[in-house]
């Protein structure tokens, strides 16, 4: 079923929407969650929570890309789960490593403007990413959105791990500069 038809089912409040979403995107969403949380059970919980949240948010939202919309929800649930796990000192893996790398985009002793919302910052990041060359853009999203490991990225993009690391480091440097220029730090 096409994404348009699935979205139409949500608007019609037809519960087949959930089943159709599951049929089409279950494995994909599970992979997004698995990249972030450490065990299968947690990943499945994130996937199921995604269906519920999607049912409650379409309408009023009408996503342009259903896969993108769903993966954002799954990622949010997975990050929440991860942060609970971190507090409980268990799991974490790649998501925590990528989180550590993101620290490099924030200048020492700087902090984000208190009035800046995640949505505002998301828009600034989108604009930044759209200006990047295709491979850099995809690498950045796979690493910091889905939290893919360096080894996975190297395999998927057909590069050496060292090359992946260098490309990501340069993108982070560009992002730090971009954020500073945009005046998002206090």
């Amino acid at each position: 079923m096409t994404d348009d038809k699935i979205i139409a089912l949500y608007f019609e409040r037809n519960e087949d929407a959930i089943q159709e979403t599951k049929n089409k995107y279950s494995r994909y969403l599970l992979s997004v969650a698995q990249s972030i949380v450490s065990n299968q059970e947690d990943a499945e919980e994130c996937e199921n929570s995604t269906y519920f949240a999607t049912w409650n948010s379409i309408p009023p939202n009408r996503p342009h890309s259903l896969s993108g919309y769903l993966s954002k929800i799954t990622r949010n649930f997975a990050l929440k789960k991860l942060r609970t796990q971190k507090t409980e000192k268990r799991g974490g893996g790649e998501a925590l490593l990528s989180l550590g790398e993101l620290n490099e985009c924030i200048p020492a002793s700087a902090a984000f403007d208190e009035n800046l919302t995640r949505e505002n910052l998301g828009e600034i990041l989108s604009a930044f990413l759209k200006e990047l060359p295709d491979t850099e853009q995809r690498l950045f999203i796979c690493r910091y959105f889905r939290c893919d490991s360096i080894a996975t990225l190297a395999q998927n993009f057909g590069m050496k791990e060292s090359r992946v690391k260098v490309m990501l480091m340069r993108t982070r440097e560009k992002l730090a500069k971009h954020l500073t220029e945009k005046g998002v730090f206090l």
């Binding site: 089943q19 309408p59 990528s98 998927n156």
Partner: protein, 373 residues
């Protein structure tokens, strides 16, 4: 929350299209693709040699006819298992209109496959069975057309011509990014308008407040639809589904209001559906103007009790081996296809299997009447 966690959360807010491009497309490099292409060519060439030898040495064998098993056109042999009604029903309805023939003493409840396995519903209940679904005819005369529905004009591109179970004639389908308009191919009359466009408020929209009740929304939906179709909806069956929705900032209520024509109190498929937000704006419309199909049967009297009996008798027979502990009442809808009136009757039940609660659904098609030709 740390600064980097804030940045990590913001990455979750980037454009959905960026996420889709990055995660849904294959980033594998060209050199690998080239490798696989070369490998595939070599494999084909290597396989071709023994196949060529085989064909060169083959003896004459009768040719086996190729059967297209993917066809959705239903025939008698393609029907699912038929369960004959165990009840000696002589007539379900009587007619006051001469062109309608009531089929006597031959009622069959045709079981449609697609019973649910566990929680969740089956979307494919009608495929391959009696209701043939949609056949599409692609034409080459691509054209654009402007349609105005609900005060909004939009440009639609011709997509195809369809023969559907809802209409006894061909319909031309025009599409835009989020809407579809179906026209009677001969008369040009709009027979189905469908849209999930952005919320839209009409100029005559009343002011809805937190004090507004469900009946206020129904009255509004009814008034604008009556105007649109130039017909009173007073005799139509109204169904309202409400749900709490969330736009990321606040919760509100969404009303899905549908109006279905009824024959003997049983709703006909092809209803008018509108999704209304709390402030009165619309998010979704599906308006199927299906007057012609049901017209010959409008005055038919259907004995709903007998219909229930047929469904229950078949359902009990079909689920005898299951450990059923509860079931709903049968739910009936009417369909018309090629001048034949069908009742589509479903019954949902719950049963135990290996100490787990399961939900099942059986659906039957019951032929009620047909137009005498």
């Amino acid at each position: 929350m740390t600064q980097s966690e804030f940045l990590q959360d913001a990455i979750g807010m980037i454009d959905e299209s960026l996420v889709e491009t990055a995660l849904m497309t294959n980033p594998k490099p060209r050199r690998r693709a080239v490798f696989f292409a070369v490998a595939a060519c070599l494999t084909v060439m290597l396989l071709a040699i023994p196949v060529g030898i085989l064909f060169a040495n083959r003896t004459e064998t009768p040719e086996v006819p190729i059967v297209d098993t993917t066809s959705v056109v239903s025939t008698q042999t393609a029907l699912p298992p038929i369960t004959t009604s165990p009840l000696p029903i002589t007539s379900i309805g009587t007619t006051q209109s001469s062109p309608v023939l009531i089929i006597p003493e031959q009622y069959q409840a045709l079981y449609l496959p697609g019973a649910m396995n566990g929680i969740g519903s089956s979307a494919g209940a009608y495929s391959g069975a009696l209701l043939q679904g949609t056949k599409e005819y692609k034409k080459t005369n691509v054209a654009k057309q402007i349609f105005t529905v609900f005060e909004t004009s939009g440009e639609y591109k011709y997509n195809n011509t369809r023969k559907t179970i809802l209409y006894p004639y061909d319909v031309d389908v025009f599409m835009s990014s989020s809407s579809e308009v179906h026209q009677n191919a001969e008369t040009g009359e709009i027979v189905w308008f469908y849209s999930v466009a952005n919320p839209q408020k009409l100029s005559n929209c009343p002011i809805f407040t937190s004090e507004s009740s469900e009946s206020d929304y129904i009255a509004y939906a009814k008034s604008i639809l009556s105007d649109l179709i130039s017909e009173s909806l007073d005799q139509y069956m109204v169904t309202v589904k409400t749900s709490r929705i969330h736009d990321g900032i606040k919760e509100s209520t969404y009303y899905r209001i549908s109006f279905a024509k009824t024959i003997s109190g049983i709703p006909c498929r092809g209803e008018y559906v509108i999704g209304i937000f709390e402030d009165g704006s619309f998010g979704m419309y599906s308006l199927k103007f299906n007057k012609e199909g049901f017209a010959p049967f409008e005055k038919l009297v259907i004995d709903k009790e007998k219909l229930d009996q047929i469904v229950m008798a078949n359902y009990e027979m079909d689920t005898a081996s299951l450990n059923v502990f509860s079931h709903e009442s049968p739910e009936h809808w009417l369909y018309v296809e090629d001048g034949v009136l069908w009742a589509q009757s479903s019954i949902e039940y719950r049963y135990w299997k290996n100490d787990v609660e399961w939900v099942g659904e059986h659906t039957y098609m019951i032929k009620l009447a047909e137009v005498q030709r």
